[in-house]
Amino acid sequence: MRDFKYFRPRTLKEALSILTQERAKVLAGGTDLLVKMKDGLLRPESVMDISFLEELKFIREEEGMVTIGALATHSMLERSPIINTKAPHLAEASRSIGSPQIRNVATIGGNIVNASPAGDSLPPLYTLEAELLLESEKGSRIVAIEEFFTGPGQSIIEPHELLTAIRFKAPRGELLTFFQKLGQRKALAISKVSVAFLATCAADKKFLRKVRIALGAVAPTVIRAREVESFLENGSINEEMVDLAAKLCSEEARPISDIRSTLVYRKKVTGELLKRGLSQFIEGVIS
């Protein structure tokens, strides 16, 4: 790894000022960045370590809005009572990432800005229609998560901007959620395909009102499966619906072939993961 100039701001204000003056690469948990630097894929001249910005390590709920600081780790998310009740599929996704050692340092902000279509926190955040707060010395802007990504590893964040928080409206009423992922093995596997599902429903948990589905690692960015969503909305879940939804979902996936998997396999698995998730609700395994 090449050596670099090291900056360690203690406050957000200081961090934003450094980012304006220096073309510094941001280091949060470092679990993506340091691997890329060790592999020689990135050779930054300056690195700004934001891991000491205590003010970005929080998860809170105020007036129906859940806000997560960019430096919240996946360990914090998987244990958070707020996330486990308002967005259980996000907690599940966090729990599925890497290993305990990785989750203890890897942050949700890093997972987002790294912009991998296989980033596991992304599909749940798409279903929550999360918004991202980007701040710079000049000001701040709020971007819908769906508008943030432009391709694999690509996003609209500017070099002088910091992602500081992620927020979403806590879904109201009865919820059905799941996060399903298929990797090569349980721990330390990058997802080949993942499916996040969020529905608000009637008290009997059978009749679906609003449905949100997002697919990971099947397109250049995470995508919403909008056709499947409208197919399932305002209907009851039963076996026939689940089969049709799975078929529709396979068609909506637009995967690429890469070292981890082929196109045909990914399409098939996407539908299968949706089916697996939805079938739990029919059988009443999850309530």
């Binding site: 050596d3 670099f4 340091l34």
Partner: protein, 153 residues
Amino acid sequence: MKIDITLRINGRSCTLSVPAKTTLLEALRDHLGLVGAKEGCGKGECGACTVLVDGKAVNSCLMLAAQAEGKEILTIEGLSQGGPTPLQRAFVEEGAVQCGYCTPGMIMSCEALLRENPNPSEEEIKEAISGNLCRCTGYIKILRAVKKALEER
């Protein structure tokens, strides 16, 4: 860029002047002679480099030494300052140590688990060591050792 870093390791403070790119693992092994933590993959995949930072298991190969400044670092050397712990003894007695390369990391992951959850289920033990690879024991003996340490406490 050389930087001065003060680390709290196994209860003692030490100051190092090292290149900014120095990982915590390099600081421990190359600058402080604490060679218990091992480098396997260098990329977060094997857990041989696991140490505790503020009580939490981390891969020291994927953390800059600078990121650990001001935090409490515990390595396998610090764990056994007063002689082997019950967990370490159980590893020896159950044959959970074969070549031994994974052992310091494995012990630190189990230690982190037991500090947070004194009564883990088998599933929880497996989850705690899911980031630690062992090429020798097949994990069965490791699970047995952790359970034995639980029983004997």
